[in-house]
Symmetry: C2
Subunit: 269 residues, 2 copies
């Protein structure tokens, strides 16, 4: 989805560190950096990346997330990489039979937002592409985060696991923040304009003999009022509709005054 | 994250169709299929894929999401692709200044879950890698879905946009469903076992003269009780701790009965 507003500067909020343990493919490191940038994360830490660092493929896959790639820190051990953190979540799709809480990304995000709000630093661990985190690594975390995946197809690409956690963090952190843009609903039409439209339409329909009999008119006009009310037209739309009605109406004024039935009218419109 | 349970069969729930409009890269189609499979979606529709269909690169990138790839439907127009749907959301990162609701993925997911519950069919539109959906295409949708991205870095890879929507749908659809696995908390220790541990520890500490003076003992024992209660040990952990205390205790029985101060004890442990 295109839409980056390059006039806006990246905001560096206090946010969780993303720690990739022994990532194998530069493409995944770069895609993870891009996913982080999409949701406002910027602290990316690598433990023993297989192909070293810097990594050209990572830079390419990061799609210009330079503010993340440029800040990457590399560590030899996971213990060092998480040394400054207070709350650490380990992502895994496998049950580790450890005495450790297992939570979803939403609960993890809420916990991290609270911790950050209390001035603590948080991080999320992601394992190797091949076999994830080993138990010694999971044991270092406060809780296990697992995604509500389809059990028969539970294997997520690392960058996509990062994306879900980053998305949930931002959702929790900016709960009351507006979306990047809001609906453009125009100027809502005051009821008087709607009434004017309905009245004009009714008169036009009278002229073409739309109402088979006068006693049917009130009920049908109420149906029309209900339709229009439900549609929630804005002022511009009401003006457009009135113009359409006027145009159709004039056409019938020009036509010879034989009664046109609604079906013919629709057909010839 | 590894963890697919190949013993489990894929579940084909009523779920939203994912419609990719003129996707350019097979890799993205395949990655989208994989993301769908991760969260239980399976109805993938393509409108004029640039490189035709089937697409080898898509199959490779799908990482064995064959149940999605094998069901892909290709259409010439978006109108055909969404012909059977009742509720359609268009994803876009750009404001279209259209008189159309703009909602987040969570709200969209709730709406789709309600619609599906009412027996209606739903779908989500995703645009081209380069410039997304055009306005004529967005106009066909009931609402615009946009992600709470960082405005300065708003461009999501299509597969990742699909992932977020699929994740939110599953979260909304399976609100009360458990995560793939739960915490293995063992058998929680009944308070009596905790009391036994505390008592045993207290006696061992008496033997090494840990409590400088008898009047200090009750308060320090209460601190220990609080620590243990807060830790929430399970039965196995209490057994382990009691074994440790017993071992340390016996060591002092063997040692000559000079009073060992806590510091020495810690130092020699």
């Amino acid at each position: 989805m295109a839409g980056t507003d390059s006039s806006k500067a990246v905001v560096f909020r206090d946010s969780p560190a993303i720690i990739l343990v022994e990532p194998q493919l530069g493409e995944n490191i770069g895609a993870a950096a891009r996913a982080m940038a999409n949701f406002g994360l910027w602290d990316l830490r690598l433990v023993n990346p297989r192909d070293g660092w810097p990594n050209e493929k990572a830079v390419a896959a990061a799609a210009k997330a330079d503010h993340v790639i440029g800040r990457v820190q590399v560590f030899e051990t996971l213990a060092e990489a998480m040394g400054d953190l207070h709350l650490v979540h380990a992502t895994t799709a496998r049950n580790r039979e450890m005495f450790k809480p297992v939570i979803g990304p939403d609960v993890a995000a809420d916990a991290m937002v609270s911790a950050i709000g209390a001035g603590r630093k948080t991080g999320i661990l992601f394992g190797r592409e091949r076999w994830g985190l080993n138990n010694d690594e999971v044991a270092l975390a406060d809780a296990i985060v697992t995604l509500p995946v389809e059990p028969a197809f539970a294997s997520l690409n690392i960058a996509q696991a990062v994306l879900v956690l980053a998305y949930e963090w931002r959702r929790a952190a900016l709960k009351d923040a507006p979306l990047p843009f809001a609906a453009d609903e125009g100027e809502p039409a005051p009821r008087g304009q709607l009434a004017g439209l309905t009245e004009q339409l009714g008169e036009a329909l009278d002229r073409v003999g739309f109402f088979k009999s006068p006693d049917k008119r009130p009920g049908m006009m109420n149906n029309i009022r209900s339709m229009f009310a439900r549609a929630g037209f804005n002022a511009q739309e009401v003006r457009t509709l009135r113009g359409m009605v006027a145009a159709l109406d004039r056409r019938h004024e020009r036509a010879n005054p034989t009664r046109v039935q609604p079906d013919d009218d629709a057909g010839s419109a």
